[in-house]
Symmetry: C2
DNA sequence: AAAGATTTGTCCGTATGTATG
DNA sequence: ACATACATACGGACAAATCTT
């Protein structure tokens, strides 16, 4: 094991940084789970084909981040981190799902705007293109720690008070209830991943280059009418999405 | 709009690389969808607080990747890329899902090994810890392009010929069929994201630092016995996962 | 159709940062 | 700590292609 790639020499990233990244990724993918520690510096230096000083710089940066812990005479230990599990079912609600794992959930309204439905929004909500849309930007937190930020779209004609109600109740579910929708279901979810945009880094308090999961989802009321189209962005190192396909 | 963060000097990553990453992420998050092009070099240089040449280096690297296309006198155009949609349902099979989108699918066996079940494998397959396990590493391709790599675990006592059969039939489904399992369902899936490990970069032909989606899944036969526990890794810029939610 | 503004392409030179031995 | 080699970043000037007036 311990499969490392060679250092790219004119890639715009300095050698020590590349080595730090590779060690970090190897840890994420479970490479050193058996020992719980990173190979000795001298071994790494030889593996990467670099000078001894260069590996030392790499490990020093990871130790400062808190990912590694250097112990004199013993080696370099890996610090463990766990992800919250966000369940995605037909009846997913942001607050309930994580709430069951003991986290205190809240949704904060960041901003909202009114716009005309573009093609993709109109398609998702089954409205004519150009319909008036309310777009809400929210940040969801677990125990005060921001874990997701969502951009949600609603039909303004049907839910004119959405922004006000989400702002007051700190919950989309409650805002729906206050406007006559007591229950709703998730119609579809599409998930992909990328690195966070600068704005998302700010909202989710991420370090630059962090990976996020992006979930596009559509909710409908019990008569099948589309009521919400949203793009939720999760910090991938804090959250994993759990899909339950047990009882279809 | 056009929200960029400042460039960190002496961070181990050169300015042009940081700028390239930020532009790339802005494109991914749909920042320039209205115009379909990136702001002029001089504007970017001012925004990032760097020389125009530095911005040019950044754009040059993205152009070489095929993400951007520069046209003298006109500007820098964004090249569109589309993701394949991989549906995850109770009846997901790798080859069927993408096959419906017209892609030619195949599964290639990379390697296999025999090992004793660790706690997580034993839990997932409902076997006693220490049971003999076959672990297969496969790469799945669409139209010859690798899109996913999976590490799958099987009960060796029940499926002793798994490696041989997957290697011959290029399909897990057919390998199951040859061993008496005509049908099976997906019990659970857990999705998260991170940057690719070096090994995964090689198998999926990814550039360093690419984002991958990681899906942990368990399959069971129709009597509910667990038959497969696997970790599938997808290239996030080629694939999005469509989750068909259960009506729990 | 012509002129000017905008934007990318190329050349020069200089100073600083990075990695090695 | 030092010397060397090379990549990185900056500054300026002008050419070439495209768009606007």
């Amino acid at each position: 094991m311990s499969q490392f790639s060679t250092i790219a020499r004119h890639s715009g990233i300095s050698a020590w940084k590349q080595i730090a990244d590779q060690i970090s990724r190897s840890i994420s993918s479970g490479e050193f789970d058996d020992t719980g520690m990173v190979p000795p510096e001298m071994v790494l230096a030889e593996k990467f084909g670099v000078n001894r000083h260069t590996v030392r710089s790499a490990i020093a940066s990871l130790a400062e981040e808190g990912l590694l812990k250097r112990v004199q005479g013993r080696g370099t230990l890996i610090e463990k981190r766990e992800r919250l599990i966000f369940p995605i079912t037909r009846r997913t609600r942001f607050s309930e799902g994580l709430g069951k794992q003991g986290a205190e959930m809240s949704t904060r309204l960041i901003s909202y705007e009114e716009l005309e439905a573009t093609q993709d929004i109109a398609d998702a909500l089954a409205l004519p293109p150009g319909a008036r849309i309310l777009r809400l930007r929210t940040v969801g937190s677990a125990d005060g720690q921001p874990v997701s930020t969502a951009t949600s779209h609603f039909d303004k004609a049907r839910f004119p008070r959405m922004a006000e109600l989400v702002g007051r109740h700190h919950s989309v579910t409650k805002a729906f209830a206050a406007q006559g929708v007591d229950d709703y279901v998730r119609v579809s979810t599409e998930v992909t991943g990328r690195t966070a945009a600068v704005e998302e880094e700010a909202y989710l308090k991420l370090s630059p280059g962090s990976v996020v999961l992006v979930a596009l989802s559509v909710n409908a009321d019990l008569e099948g009418r589309r009521i919400q189209y949203s793009r939720s962005v999760f910090a991938a190192d804090k959250i994993s999405l759990k899909l339950d396909t047990a009882s279809v």
